[in-house]
């Protein structure tokens, strides 16, 4: 209706904006080159694929977290869902002697169900997101240990009733985590790529994705515009739960046994990945591509540092420094004045 002058009238804005958009890509490239120079073995394809494989689980969980975040929620339970899925998969195969397909389907269903439970607690009962998923987190951390009385699950283990478990990991199941396509690309990487592409498509190229974001931006507005917001929020948690259990399946098939773990570090890494993703392409909101890139970013950093024989405690430190640097760069350049 009237002429619109943008508030940022400065001529430098487009330069700063470009810098912000690609800051993390540039940093990633610099890191790759830096590590390559310091340690030529870093850049061979086996190592690059093992980086991708190492980040696949965190990236998959991170995608789930970023979907719930885009719908205005937050799923603190992804770590423990993944950990419980490892236990569940092991239990199904080792104790209940199921095969790979049955196990995978049941575990994914379990993840979806937990997501549904989270969602119902939030949408129906009205518990705040953080609170509901935190409760689920604690609940699962304990629940996963009850069937075996706190023991890890391995073939031939002693059950609480004194009998011995008769089953074992189905070799077909181990393919998921351990084999490689064309003897090059590890399956977890393919799963991660599929999840990323599908989720990206869902969130950026379909109506549904926009509704998720609209709900995150203003739930009332989305509701008034006709979106069944409760159903969407439920679905966000179902997706997140399912993805977390998919991540758990990958861990299980890599590890080959059911180990006690609360999944806290998975949670924090997944959250970190999706938060770093905010800065990718200067979106300032959760998004799939950013999350995956965030996970890869951290993965490359840790792999490179390990190759350079940095003591383990410098890793967290460097992770923190790079995070702060990247953030300061991205957000500092784009500081909005009020």
């Amino acid at each position: 209706m009237t002429e619109q002058t943008a508030t940022q009238a400065r001529p430098t804005s487009s330069l700063a904006e470009t810098a912000r958009r690609y800051a993390l890509f540039v940093l990633l490239a610099l890191m790759l080159v830096g590590f390559w120079i310091a340690q030529p073995a870093f850049i061979n394809s086996a190592n690059l694929f093992s980086i991708l494989q190492a980040v696949s689980v965190v990236a998959i969980l991170g995608v789930g977290v970023s979907i719930t975040m885009s719908a205005g929620g937050f799923d603190l339970s992804v770590g423990s869902v993944a950990a419980s899925s490892v236990m569940a998969a092991s239990y199904l195969m080792v104790v209940l002697q199921m095969n790979a397909i049955e196990t995978m389907l049941l575990v994914l269903a379990m993840g979806a169900l937990i997501g549904l439970a989270n969602g119902l607690l939030i949408v129906r009962v009205g518990v705040p997101d953080l609170l509901a998923t935190l409760a689920t987190m604690f609940l699962l951390a304990g629940l996963q240990l009850i069937p075996t009385g706190g023991r890890s699950i391995t073939a031939g283990m002693m059950l609480p009733d004194g009998t011995t478990a008769l089953g074992a990991y189905d070799p077909a199941f181990l393919i998921l985590g351990r084999a490689r396509l064309f003897n090059t690309i590890p399956y977890p990487v393919i799963v991660m790529a599929l999840v990323a592409v599908i989720a990206w498509f869902l969130m950026e190229r379909t109506r549904w994705g926009r509704v998720f974001y609209a709900i995150g931006g203003n739930e009332t507005a989305a509701h008034l515009a006709g979106a069944p917001t409760k159903a969407y929020r439920l679905w966000a948690y179902i997706l997140s739960g399912t993805l977390a259990s998919l991540g758990g399946l990958i861990v299980a098939s890599r590890v080959g046994r059911g180990d006690v773990s609360a999944g806290n570090s998975l949670l924090l890494d997944a959250v970190a990945a999706s938060l770093i993703g905010f800065a990718v392409l200067d979106k300032r909101r959760p998004h799939v591509l950013g999350t995956v890139l965030g996970a890869i970013f951290v993965g490359v950093l840790l792999n490179g540092l390990t190759m350079l024989n940095a003591p383990y405690y410098t890793q967290d430190f460097v992770k923190g420094v790079v995070l702060v640097g990247a953030l300061a760069l991205t957000f500092g350049l784009g500081k909005r004045k009020r």
Partner: protein, 512 residues
Amino acid sequence: MSLASPSPAKIAVSVSGIEKAFGPTRALAGADLVVEAGEIVALMGANGAGKSTLVKILSGSISADAGTITLGGKTVSFASPSEAQAAGIATVHQATDQAGAAGLTVAENLTLNELCGTGNFFVSGRSIRKRAQEIAAAIDLDLPLDRDFIDLRPAERQLIAIARAVAAKASVLILDEPTSSLSSTEAERLFAVLRRLKASGIAILYISHRTGDLAAIADRAVVLRGGRVVASFARPIDFSAAVAAMIGRTLDASAHDGKPSSAPILASVKRAVLVPGARPFDLDLRSGEVVAITGTLGSGKSRLLRALFGLETLVEGGFTIDGKPWLSTGPSYSIVRGVFMVAEDRWASSLLPPEIPGATIAGTIALPHLPRWFPSGILNTTRERLAATQAISRLGIKARGPDDTLDQLSGGNQQKVVLARWQAAPCRLLLLDEPFQGVDVGARADLIAAIRGSQSGSATLIATSDTEEALEVADRILVMRDHSLYEADGSHGSLAAAIGSVEAAETGNVTS
């Protein structure tokens, strides 16, 4: 919805015996209303009369306690906004904070109904922009499509909501104070669209506190009072009778005569340039004066007020207050020195979520005065509630008491609380940006009386897009055009002539 055969006599929507209570508050107590296809019905009522509640029920966002809704001859009940939309009811809600989603672009917000409803499943930035352009074109809206919704001003938000509702191709269109932040130019443009829609047989329910708007387009006026329909007026609408039915007394909305004041100058603007390239302007505010600035959307009214309050900086020029240069560093600086501002978007600028302490009427009024009222830091709630209780009775705020949270109040009553906040302490310069948004005529008269009554030793600068309002409240009216101030024709004779001269100034047909 097919609109092939518009039949003027056909009833598009009717409600009967609608009741709705919020706790002890009976918002609706058996309201009946009929809107025919091809008819624009004005729904009038004082603040808190229940208009928005009725709208919310019709649009499916809340459910009625009792009563029936008939749409196109069939009894319906809506469990959600999407059902109402599917049934052919499009709504522009009063609250501009619910007009769209932050984080989404203007284009996405323009197409929000389709995204949230049954639009194309696959979308891309380009397809959304294309569709958004069509939607915007329907009401002649020209906004940068890639801007984030959060950066829009209330007027722009309102226009987006209107564009969306118009594009919905509904059989019933409900507009709840759509022009509350629009200037007369934009409002005129909206009326043209509404007339076109009306001609195509759409039933329109229109809510506004601006009698000028209603006079321009309404075929019929229905007055709601205490949750019940108390009167109905056919065209030509007798507005003074309607207002009497609304608030139980008559008002004479006369302009103040612009006799030049000779009081000392309290504040002045010198050679101010608001944006690069704009023409510099001067402005003197005399003690006791109330000056209004009108102008089209985006002309820079808010910017001037914000600059005085310390939220923005001038490109060139400066301010003085009491003869001393005035350069505020921000709200806290200004407030301490008696310069107060009511910002234009009450949701973003004043309202707090209900669950936090201080979201009550008492807390909202007290917030800027905390350091002065409680220098030791320790709160005394009696003090706050006393101020709130006084404001409630002085401004006729419809609430249960000072502990009501603002989300429980009707839009107009929220606005009164926001104004009451700044009357709770003595001030030098009061800056009011769109102060009467959604305030009913009766309350507006009260507010104006209050503003004019507290004028000794202070000045008031009001930015408003409603010319009528400006004439009612101000001693002097200036027009903002392209970020520069122009004097409107000084001597306004009749009200209509005055409006004419101001609007002419707005569009730039007057040399200054």
